[in-house]
């Protein structure tokens, strides 16, 4: 009987109920749509923020060498769908054969570069094959490179980057050569002659790259040079040899160079490759002063697969990133991960603001929509005061009238909520695809939530007008006052 009354009432008053249903439906659509967007915004926006480039660096740990395996191990600590890109880099100085100039060259994986550095602007194309090079704009301007230009690059093996076994430097009577980085990055070269007992017999220093009035004096200062003679390698600055005053850095470099000295002919032969420029890179940053080549060419040139750094672009909130960095550094002894604070910090603060913005907007919109829904429901219900009065006059109890209207409200809430929950998702999906170009994940909890909220609001907004209608004397209601 109860059910039949409700359905009959709904059917009879189709148009009015349609209005109420529509109103609840709109409310639920906005609720479901906005909440879905709100839940998804940090993730989607976070992905947009990756256009600032890498937010994590993976570096070799102190005293170890990182290769691609080490990087792959590190990447396993991060869920694959959160890794936007991982670009390995190896930096070396290459000499340009025709101009006798040297440039910093970066060996990298070009398939990953656009992912971690989406801001790279290239005139031409990324290299696709080996023996192709991407030239920084500044280098290109300085030496007049264009897309299609060719150049020869030579790698001069430097002893300082390779470990030297002590035995190599102890060959008596041999002429050894070594070098090390001195003041301001300039290289100091030494030639060492050892006597039959393995002690230094003669030393010659080429400190032409050092400031003449400071480090440059190491090459001529007899007192400084004299300290080396007769001592056995390896030497320690401050114990075996005192630094030349005012040239500490250069003195340290000389000692390092002497320690690393090895048979000259044992050094690897310089490798030369010919490259074609496929593109000119503009970034507005220091990358414009580099040449980019593939890791394969880098291996051919240097003979090693070691990496200096890997740039990772990971789509995750700051705390999560820290957890990943921690996991990589701890569980993998060979590499350590570091966050790029400039990016993570700024991202966290901007993202926080954006999320707060969407949250407040969602809240305000929801509040207002819900009030709109209840005013409509109230209007629809209070219209039926006459019917309520009539029923009361016929002897229906207040409770049964209330139950009937409430049931009607709940039913409308259910239907409207279901409709809105689905439409809301469709809307959120449309927003996500339009704004972020990615689809949104359906929040399964949201559908029951939308239905529940709609039912509660529908029921609540029925209650007030019913209460008023029930309270009034049926005679007055029926009279139409």
């Amino acid at each position: 009987m109860f059910l039949r009354m409700i359905t009959a009432s709904l059917l009879r008053r189709r148009s009015r109920m349609l209005i109420a249903l529509l109103s609840i439906g709109i409310g639920a659509t906005i609720l479901a749509g906005l909440v879905t967007i709100y839940v998804d915004v940090p993730r989607q926006m976070g992905a947009q923020f990756r256009s600032y480039g890498a937010n994590m660096l993976v570096l070799p740990a102190e005293g170890t060498v990182m290769e691609r395996d080490g990087l792959a191990d590190a990447l396993e600590k991060i869920p694959p769908d959160e890794v936007i890109g991982a670009t390995p880099y190896r930096y070396v100085r290459l000499d340009m054969t025709s101009r006798q100039q040297s440039f910093t060259a970066a060996g990298t994986d070009f398939s990953q570069v656009p992912k971690t550095s989406p801001y790279f602007s290239i005139e031409g194309n990324y290299p696709e094959h080996t023996r192709e090079v991407l030239a920084g704009k500044k280098i290109a301007e300085t030496i007049g490179l264009k897309t299609g230009s060719t150049m020869e690059l030579t790698y001069q093996p430097a002893a300082r980057t390779e470990a030297v076994s002590p035995e190599d430097s102890r060959v008596p009577g041999a002429e050894l050569a070594g070098n090390a980085e001195g003041f301001g990055g300039g290289i100091v070269y030494v030639s060492v002659k050892l006597d039959d007992h393995g002690a230094v017999a003669a030393l010659e220093i080429d400190a032409g790259t050092q400031t003449p009035e400071y480090g440059g004096r190491t090459a001529e200062d007899e007192g400084f040079l004299g300290q080396f003679i007769g001592k056995t390698l390896p030497l320690t600055l401050g114990e075996d040899v005192d630094a030349l005053s005012g040239a500490t850095v250069t003195s340290e470099a000389v000692v390092q160079a002497v320690n690393s000295a090895r048979k000259a002919e044992k050094a690897a032969k310089p490798q030369t490759l010919s490259f074609t420029v496929t593109g000119i890179l503009t970034t507005g940053g220091e990358e414009e002063e580099y040449l980019f080549i593939s890791l394969e060419d880098m291996k051919t040139l240097t003979g090693s697969e070691q990496l200096d750094v890997a740039e990772l672009s990971v789509s995750a909130p700051a705390e999560q990133l820290e957890a990943y960095a921690e996991a990589i550094s701890q569980e993998n002894g060979a590499v350590r991960a570091r966050l790029v604070k400039r990016v993570t910090r700024s991202e966290a603060s901007v993202l926080e603001k954006l999320t707060a913005l969407v949250f407040l907007v969602t809240l305000v919109v929801l509040l207002l929509t819900m009030i709109c829904v209840s005013t409509t429901m109230m209007a629809v219900v209070s219209e039926r005061r006459r019917e309520i009065g009539l029923r009361k006059a016929l002897g229906a109890s207040d409770g049964s009238i209330r139950a009937e209207f409430l049931g009607e409200g709940l039913f409308l809430g259910l239907l409207g909520g279901l409709m809105g929950g689905i439409l809301g998702f469709v809307f959120a999906q449309a927003v996500s695809v339009n704004v972020f170009g990615a689809s949104i994940t359906f929040q399964p909890l949201l559908l029951p939530a939308a239905i529940l909220v709609s039912m509660v609001i529908a029921a609540l907004s029925c209650l007030l007008p019913i209460k008023r209608a029930v309270a009034v004397d049926p005679a007055i209601v029926l009279k139409g006052e």
Partner: protein, 431 residues
């Protein structure tokens, strides 16, 4: 007669009309608030994005790659061209001066610290007070441009302090290496002299800067003997995301037609601001830091689009809500309309009476809603961005038009429908 009827409705059916006015007010406040937020959001988010640091770098035109190409040390020593410090104030005189949020000069050099090693020392402004030729004054410097630096010990160097030029800030890695703490006094030896300085603070920048020293520009100029010279300037500017015109202009402004040129010059594209900076700073090349400039554009565009779509949803929602309620209220009055018709009123005058009532209610609702919407916009502005949102004069007519349209669209078909019914049926009560 018409007036009396309308007044009658408005005063006697207060409850119902209040409900309609309330709903319209809510819808109007929602529309007002959202439209204002959407129109103001670009500027606000743009300011937030300044957290990422400079988006324009100014360098001397002739700064060569010498130190890089020949692999010689010394950094600043070989840098032959410099910019002039006294020209920096001119940055605030360009066409888009208002969009220049912050800027700071840099001059770097190598110094020997104590007796044991070399370190890179950068001279810059921290919170440099600048009196502009225009009569304004501002504080510019890296304090505002390195928001991600953590001061782990001590404090930021304060240029307003009298002995600021006797202080430096040290990177965390460098400080750890030498065991320095805030308050320690160290000796810096540059190629033109030496000086004892106090460490004002130690910062953790999470990058290369951690192995460097930062001091006031004056100090570094004195140590290197480069009076009034700076090696580069970083500028943080509010910009408009690039479009096709901006990209064309960035390549060669001279190739634009005079009309395009004007549009480009008078829009805050990063390339236009760079161009204007070059015009005022002698011998300079200003280039956009693409990493920052490009990303800003992407994020601004996305945020704006997102807000527009949310606004559209809430506008459609409130429009439907309002027209729904108006329809309901008209249908509710079918008996009254039937009665009017039965006593001989013409359709047109009935429509006129009902519409006038509803539109007056809507007007009241709109007025209340506009004020409420203003409140919502400010609430959002203050709680999210900590500053008020400018009210756009465009919003009021847009919302008013929208409300009028929605009210008419909601009531007119309903009135027509009720009018089509025969009075007897309506009055009888069973349709």
């Amino acid at each position: 007669m018409l007036f009396r009827m309308i007044r009658g409705v408005l005063f006697h059916q207060k409850g119902k009309m209040l409900l309609i006015a309330l709903t319209i007010a809510l819808g109007a406040s929602l529309a007002t608030g959202m439209l204002n937020v959407v129109l103001g959001v670009e500027e606000k988010v743009n300011k937030e994005l300044k957290n990422y640091g400079a988006n324009i770098v100014v360098k001397p035109k002739d700064s060569s790659l010498l130190s890089d190409i020949y692999d010689v040390g010394g950094g600043a020593e070989l840098n032959t061209a410099y910019l002039r410090e006294d020209e920096l104030g001119k940055l605030k005189t360009i066409f888009w001066a208002f969009n220049i949020v912050d800027f700071t000069p840099f001059l770097d050099t190598q110094v020997q610290v104590a007796d044991n090693a070399a370190a890179s020392l950068t001279g810059t402004w921290f919170n440099h007070h600048l009196d502009l030729p225009t009569g304004e004054s501002l504080d510019a410097g890296i304090v505002g441009m390195r928001s991600w630096w953590d001061i782990t010990e001590g404090r930021w160097l304060d240029e307003k302090d009298a002995n600021a030029s006797g202080e430096i800030m040290a990177g965390a890695a460098l400080a750890a290496q030498y065991g320095w703490h805030a308050g320690d006094i160290i000796r810096l030896k540059g190629n033109q002299g030496e000086k004892d300085v106090t460490i004002a603070g130690i910062y953790d920048a999470g990058g290369d800067e951690d192995e460097q020293l930062y001091a006031t520009l004056d100090l570094v100029q004195a140590l290197t003997g480069r009076e009034n010279e700076v090696a580069s300037i970083e500028v943080s500017a509010l910009t408009t995301p690039d479009n096709e015109l901006a990209r064309r202009a960035a390549k060669n402004p001279a190739a634009l037609s005079s009309r395009d040129y004007e549009t480009w010059y008078c829009t805050a594209y990063v390339s236009a601001i760079c161009y204007q900076i070059q015009e005022v700073i002698t011998g300079s090349v200003a280039s956009a830091v693409r990493k920052v400039a490009e990303s800003e554009g992407t994020i601004l565009d996305k945020t704006k689009l997102l807000m527009i779509l949310i606004t559209a949803l809430s506008l459609v929602g409130s429009a439907l809500g309002i027209s729904n309620l108006v329809t309901a209220s008209v249908m509710e009055r079918s008996k009254e309309i039937g009665l009017l018709k039965a006593i001989g009123a013409r359709d047109r005058s009935i429509t006129g009476v009902v519409m006038t009532e509803i539109l007056i209610t809507a007007l009241l609702g709109f007025a209340a809603g506009y004020v409420m919407g203003f409140g919502f916009a400010q609430l959002i502005g203050h709680s999210v961005f900590g500053s008020s949102i400018q009210m756009d004069p465009k919003v009021a007519p847009i919302v008013a038009g929208l409300i009028a349209l929605v009210t008419v669209a909601g009531s007119l078909p309903a009135i027509r429908m009720v009018l089509r019914l025969r009075p007897a049926e309506v009055l009888h009560g069973g349709h």
